[in-house]
Symmetry: C2
């Protein structure tokens, strides 16, 4: 039996999306599972492996529900471009480079290293269309100990020749071969079906992905209702659908009990679409930094929270320009404030606690019971030294936490575990 | 004669707000004044003090036109509060603490150290209402070598007792004494008149400040048209004015040849107000991060640029949560994108070059000829090592610059000079 306990200044959220603060407390882990938080170490835990982190902060690890690993090499560039120019000048040429395994190794090494050293413990990741590079990324990620899903991207239409898959058949067959080869290969990393989005995937590919989904019970991720032009385009491409989400659903690729699904963005989801999202239990992934950088707009996060939808946050590199989910937390607060001011005063801004909830419990639920320090949750924890954020002002515990979210780059992660296993931070 | 030349990857903007890039070039400085940028070192400069910074980036220093030094201690906290709650729970109690010189010394030390080590070379700063603490801040800033204006804040009405000045007379007399004592005291730091904003300053105080302005020829800074509630309030308080700016102008505190003036925010300035801003040559200071955090809205920056108004950027701590003007640059781009998407598609988003222009040349012009590497400009330069931003992708010089703006926290400032004098970065 493996038991350890960490002492520090502990923060997490409860089911009601409230910030819970445990000053100078112990969080307990037995065989990878959290046993709760205690002000005093229970008597029968004195012989566990004990670490007192003193004044350091302990939070659940973040889940990044939407990130393009093959776009990491150009984060923070091309931001003056409009979406089409950005895809053609930046996204597609860079992704095409992952045909070359040597390049893929160099580029993915940076991504994997920085993800490993971040406060993120779980992630659902887009690779590129290339199977060998995708498998390489999976191998590299598996070794980190982070829990991840990785998707080989499908795209057989409506994109430049040099990045398009040669045919629907090849796209489908490559995907099935890749899924069958990787589904039981890794301890920490699993394949996830990843049609780029409806406009780049023919019905034939989608039908094949639907078959693969049923056959292997594999999870699914894609983009949904990111901007109005895209929604109109999908309507044209799929005249038999009432709303965008149906273009996935009609192939069995939109949630349901056996198809855990993440849909990124949902900035402009209609009420009908939201109804189906709720019915199918689809996870909505908000990507506030990307939505602001790409000027798509602002998703009505409060509406989704109040409807009780499943909702997490994504860095969405390279629409977003940082891997840090702290930035996604504060950007989702800021975005909600601007939406309140400029669009709809009925939806009051998010609090930092609500955004933290999405980053931990909300997104974490995609991976099982994770994202909080409650008994029975998998133990994902990040220990942070925020002492460089010195201030002569006496801060409340709440303010100290909020400041960490806003000023995270000046803090330092000193320990991190995923499902109770330590992650190398070197 | 003091002459030095720095070699590196040099970026600045021209008058047309275009990014100009000089690869492997030399920037020359003689007696604190820039002598231009050259691809090859001129023959007669071989005996100057030469430093080859290799692949490092050299940019003009930033000007921060609006920052509350007395709010630095609580940056990144209180962001869930609405404006009134934020002022009452955070801003006012913290500023009141600067009555205590010991506390002021501790708090201002952090601010001054971090400003010194940042990419900012010039700043116009709000202190608090307290003269001794304001003079202390001036002394500390003067020693850094940065060129700064510092304002003792006036506030004799419409604020809690514990932070309000006892009377208009005391407010005015304190201010005159402080101006007369400090106007010639420091080499690098000058006093600037700083009525907090019209709602907190009685007519009597404003009239007195107008007199002091005329008598001493001192510069002026305040807030203007940050939100609609404030504008309506000023209209009530000053029924004889047509628009907010007139409430300063009627006391001779709104620009003009002998009263260089910065007005922070101008989110909702009317056309009449903009006309007077233009006529009086008032500098507009945009504070995008603060405007987003405080949910005031988004200023129409492109409109101001196209009208040819004088315009710079401000960190506006603690409405903003970072001193970094890189963040102000990218936030002004992001804000302009959201304004374009959500408010007015006639004003196209800002480019990173345009935002960089505002941060350097635009704001720099408040301090004289500074903010570019043109002949005759004061030599403010910052040398940045961006090598930690490794990417396997071959970036263009433009993309490398843009990435620095978005990912600045992972870069390192290795040298900095103001008017040709080196700044200690330890």
């Amino acid at each position: 039996m493996n038991r350890f306990a960490w002492k520090g200044q502990i923060y997490h959220t409860n089911e009601k999306r409230e910030l819970k603060i445990f000053e100078n407390s112990w969080v307990l882990c037995e065989n990878g599972i959290c046993k709760g938080v205690f002000g005093e170490l229970p008597e029968d835990w004195k012989d566990a492996e004990l670490t007192d982190f003193g004044d350091k902060i302990i939070i659940p690890g973040f889940s990044d529900l939407h990130v393009h690993a093959a776009q990491y090499s150009y984060i923070g560039t091309g931001m003056d471009e409009e979406l089409l120019g950005w895809l053609e000048k930046y996204a597609f040429p860079e992704e095409a480079a992952f045909f070359d395994l040597e390049y893929a190794k160099k580029a993915y090494s940076c991504f994997v290293r920085d993800l490993r050293k971040s406060a993120t413990t779980r992630a659902s990741i887009f690779a590129s269309k290339h199977v060998p590079a995708t498998e390489l990324l999976m191998e590299m990620l598996d070794k980190t100990g982070l829990k991840t899903y990785v998707g080989k991207v499908n795209m057989d239409r409506n994109c430049p020749d040099y990045i398009r898959e040669e045919s629907a058949e090849i796209s489908g067959n490559d995907t099935e071969k890749w899924v069958s080869e990787t589904i039981d290969k890794f301890e920490n990393t699993k394949p996830i079906l990843t049609p780029r989005f409806t406009p780049t995937c023919s019905d034939e590919v989608m039908a094949k992905l639907g078959e693969i989904q049923k056959k292997y019970g594999v999870a699914m991720q894609s983009h949904l209702s990111e901007n109005q032009g895209e929604i109109a385009w999908v309507k044209e491409l799929c005249p038999d659908t009432e709303f965008y989400g149906e273009a996935y659903d009609k192939f069995g690729l939109f949630g349901g009990e056996n198809c855990p699904t993440i849909m990124a963005h949902c900035v402009y989801s209609s009420d009908e679409e939201l109804e189906l999202i709720e019915k199918r239990g689809v996870w909505i992934c908000l990507c506030p930094q990307s939505n602001m950088n790409v000027a798509t707009g602002i998703a009505p996060a409060r509406k989704y929270l109040e409807k009780g939808l499943k909702i997490g946050l994504g860095s969405d590199l390279a629409g977003g320009s940082t891997l840090s989910i702290f930035r996604a937390i504060t950007d989702s607060v800021v975005a909600s404030k601007l939406r309140w001011r400029l669009v709809d005063q009925n939806l009051k801004p998010l609090s930092v606690a609500e955004a933290f909830y999405m980053a931990t419990r909300g997104g974490g639920s995609f991976f099982g019971k994770t994202g909080a320090f409650e008994e029975g949750f998998e133990m994902d924890a990040v220990v942070i030294d925020d002492s460089a954020l010195y201030t002569p002002k006496k801060l409340s515990m709440h303010d100290r936490f909020e400041r960490l979210c806003y000023l995270y780059t000046d803090s330092k992660i000193v320990a991190k575990c995923v499902a109770g296993k330590m992650i190398n931070l070197e």
